[in-house]
Amino acid sequence: MILLYPTIVLLICMGLYTVLTQTNMIKIIIGISIVESSIILLLGAMAYFPGAAAPVLDHPFELVADPLPQALGLTAIVINASTTAIMLALVIKLHNRYDTLNIHEIKKLRG
C-alpha cells in the first residue's frame, strides 16, 4: 500500500518520458496509454481500503469500497480505449500518406 502512490507517480513520469523521447508514433501512443492507465490505477487505489468488499449490493456488508472512483475509472477506461483507437487509426492513415512512423518527419505544418 505504501508503495502504491510512488508507483503511480513513477508510472506517470515514465509515460510522459516515453512521449517526450520516443520518435515512433506507436511508442508515443503507448506512452500516453501508460499515463492514462496509471491514473486509472490511482482511481482504483483510492476506492480501496483494507477489508472492503466490492460495491455490489446483493447482500449486506459492513465495509464497501467507494463505488464512485470505480465508476469514474470504468468511464475513463472506455474513453481511453476510444482515444487510443482514434490515435491508431490516424497513425495508419499517416503512415499511408507520409510513409513513415517517425514523428519528426511529419512536419508539414509550421510557422
Binding site: 464512485l68 469514474l72 474513453i79 482515444t83
Partner: protein, 492 residues
C-alpha cells in the same frame, strides 16, 4: 418547463437518427439535422428571452437527492454561452451544406456529438459528468479536424490528439485528486470542503485544471495545436470551434476556478496577477505570431488565441466589471470571428487556396465579400462602431479600475499589432491583378447569408450593446458569490 435536458436529448436523438436515415434514405438527413439545430437554438433563445422568470433553473436527472444526483443547471452566467449556442451551430451547419460534399452525414453526426458535449459541459453541475462531456466533445473534435482527410488534416489531428490527451490526463488527475481531497464530485459541495484543505493542495488542483482545460482553449504555451488544426479543418468546424467550443472550455475553467476556489483565494495567493500576466502573454504571443502568417486560417487562429488573451485578462481581474467585460468580449469575438471565417471561406471558393498571396486581386472579382471582409477586419481592431470597440472599452475600463495599468496598456498595444497583420490580407485582396483562371463560382444563399447575418449582428451589438449587456450583466452574481451557486444547486 424543463427544457434543459432536451439540449442533451435532441443532439443524442439526432446522432442516432442520422445514422438510421443515412442508411434508409439520404434525403432525410438534412431536414433532421436542421430541425434539431433549430430546436436547440430555439431552446437557447427561449431561455435567453425568459431569463427573468426561469433562471436559475435546475434539472435533476433521475430525481435523486440533490447532493448525489446528476444535476443540470442553468444560471445567469450560463447565458453567455447560450447566446452562442443560439447562433453559431445553426449558421455553421447552414454553411456546411455546400462546403462538406464528401460524407456529409458523418460530418453532421460528429457536429452533433460536439454540440452534445458542449451543451453538456456548460450545464452539468458535477465533475464526473463534466469529464464525460469533455471527452465527448474532445473526441468529436479530433475526428472533425481530420475530416478533410488531407495530409495536413491528419497531421494536425494527430498533433491535437496527442496534446489533447496529455491535457485531458491532467484534467482527470485534477478531478481524481479533487475527489480524494474533498470526497465529492458535486460542484456545489466542493467549495465548502475545499476551504478546509491546505493551500498548496488547492494550488496543485488549480494548476491541473488550468493545464487540462487550457490546452483546449489554446492558452499560450499550450496553443500549438490550434493553428495547425484550423489550417487543416473545414470552415464550418472552425467557426463552431472558435465560436462556441473553445469558449465553452474557457467558460468551464472560469466556473471551476471561481466556484471551487473563490475570488478571495486568488487575491490572497497573488493568483490574479499571474492570470492577468498570462493573459497578456497569450495576447502578445498570439498577435506576434499572427504577424508572420501567410495562411488566412492560421492567421485567424493566432488571432483567436490573442483575442482569448483579452478575455483571460478580463476574467482574471476578478471584479464584476471584468467579468461582464470578458463575457461581452467572448460573445462579440465569437460572432465577429465567425463572420470573418465565413468570409474567408467564401473568398477561398474563388482562389482555391487560403494563402494570402494567392488572394491577390480578389476585390475586383468578389467586390461585396471583399468590402465586408475589410470592414470586419478593421472592426476586429476595435475601430467603432464594431462590437469589438465596445468590448475593448469595457475590458480597458475594468482593468484600469482594478489598477492593472500595464496589462491594460498592453491591450492597446496588442490592438495596434493586430491592425498590422490585418492590413496584409486587405492590401493583397485590394491589389489590381487579372490573372484569375476561368470563371468564378457563384455564391449560394447558404454561403453569403450566414456571413451577412453575423456581420449584421455584430454591427447591431456595436451600436446597441445594451441587448447583450442586459443578458450578461447578472452573470457575476453566480461567479463571485459562491453561495448563490451552492444554494441554487443544493437548495436552501
Amino acid at each position: 418547463m424543463d427544457l434543459l435536458i432536451w439540449l442533451i436529448i435532441i443532439p443524442l436523438f439526432t446522432i442516432f437518427s442520422i445514422g438510421i436515415f443515412n442508411y434508409i434514405n439520404k434525403k432525410f438527413v438534412l431536414p433532421v439535422v436542421f430541425t434539431s439545430a433549430i430546436l436547440q437554438s430555439g431552446i437557447a433563445i427561449y431561455y435567453i428571452i425568459n431569463r427573468n422568470n426561469l433562471l436559475p433553473q435546475l434539472y435533476n436527472v433521475g430525481n435523486w437527492q440533490r447532493d448525489i444526483a446528476i444535476n443540470l443547471s442553468i444560471d445567469n452566467f450560463t447565458l453567455v454561452i447560450f447566446v452562442l449556442i443560439a447562433i453559431m451551430p445553426l449558421l455553421s451547419l447552414l454553411y456546411s451544406i455546400t462546403e462538406i460534399q464528401r460524407k456529409p452525414a458523418k460530418f453532421y453526426l460528429l457536429i452533433n456529438v460536439l454540440l452534445l458535449g458542449a451543451s453538456g459541459m456548460v450545464m452539468t453541475a458535477d465533475l464526473f459528468n463534466f469529464y464525460v462531456f469533455f471527452e465527448i466533445a474532445s473526441i468529436s473534435s479530433y475526428a472533425l479536424v481530420a475530416f478533410r482527410d488531407e495530409d495536413i488534416s491528419l497531421e494536425a489531428a494527430f498533433e491535437y490528439l496527442i496534446i489533447g490527451s496529455i491535457g485531458s490526463v491532467f484534467l482527470l488527475l485534477g478531478i481524481v485528486l479533487t475527489y480524494q481531497a474533498t470526497g465529492t464530485l458535486n460542484m456545489a459541495m466542493i467549495p465548502g470542503r475545499m476551504a478546509e484543505i491546505p493551500v498548496i493542495t488547492r494550488q496543485v488542483l488549480m494548476s491541473l485544471f488550468i493545464i487540462g482545460l487550457g490546452v483546449k482553449f489554446a492558452l499560450v504555451p499550450l496553443h500549438a495545436w490550434m493553428p495547425d488544426a484550423y489550417q487543416g479543418s473545414p470552415i464550418s468546424y472552425i467557426v463552431l470551434s472558435s465560436g462556441l467550443v473553445v469558449n465553452v472550455y474557457f467558460f468551464v475553467l472560469v466556473r471551476i476556478l471561481f466556484i471551487f476556489f473563490g475570488v478571495e483565494f486568488f487575491q490572497e495567493t497573488i493568483f490574479t496577477n499571474l492570470i492577468v500576466g498570462w493573459g497578456v502573454l497569450s495576447m502578445l504571443f498570439g498577435h506576434g505570431a499572427a504577424l508572420q502568417q501567410d495562411n488566412l486560417k492560421r492567421l485567424f487562429a493566432y488571432s483567436t488565441i490573442a483575442q482569448l488573451g483579452y478575455v483571460i485578462i478580463a476574467f482574471g481581474l476578478g471584479t464584476e466589471a471584468g467579468i461582464v467585460a470578458g463575457s461581452f468580449h467572448l460573445i462579440s469575438h465569437a460572432l465577429l470571428k465567425g463572420a470573418i471565417f465565413f468570409t474567408a471561406g467564401n473568398l477561398h471558393k474563388a482562389t482555391g487556396s487560403y494563402q494570402i498571396r494567392e488572394m491577390k486581386g480578389m476585390a475586383e472579382k468578389m467586390p461585396v465579400m471583399s468590402i465586408i471582409f475589410v470592414l470586419m477586419l478593421i472592426g476586429m481592431v476595435g475601430i467603432p462602431p464594431s462590437n469589438i470597440f465596445v468590448s475593448k472599452w469595457l475590458i480597458l475600463s475594468a482593468a484600469v479600475e482594478a489598477g492593472y495599468l500595464l496589462p491594460a496598456f498592453m491591450i492597446v498595444f496588442g490592438s495596434f499589432l493586430s491592425l498590422g497583420y490585418y492590413l496584409r490580407p486587405v492590401i493583397t485582396i485590394y491589389t489590381g491583378y487579372t490573372g484569375f483562371p476561368g470563371k468564378l463560382p457563384l455564391l449560394k444563399f447558404n454561403e453569403y447569408f450566414p456571413t451577412l447575418l453575423l456581420a449584421g449582428i455584430c454591427l447591431i451589438i456595436g451600436l446597441f450593446p445594451g441587448y447583450i449587456l442586459n443578458i450578461i450583466d447578472t452573470a457575476p452574481e453566480f461567479l463571485l458569490e459562491q453561495s448563490n451557486f451552492i444554494i441554487h444547486i443544493l437548495g436552501g
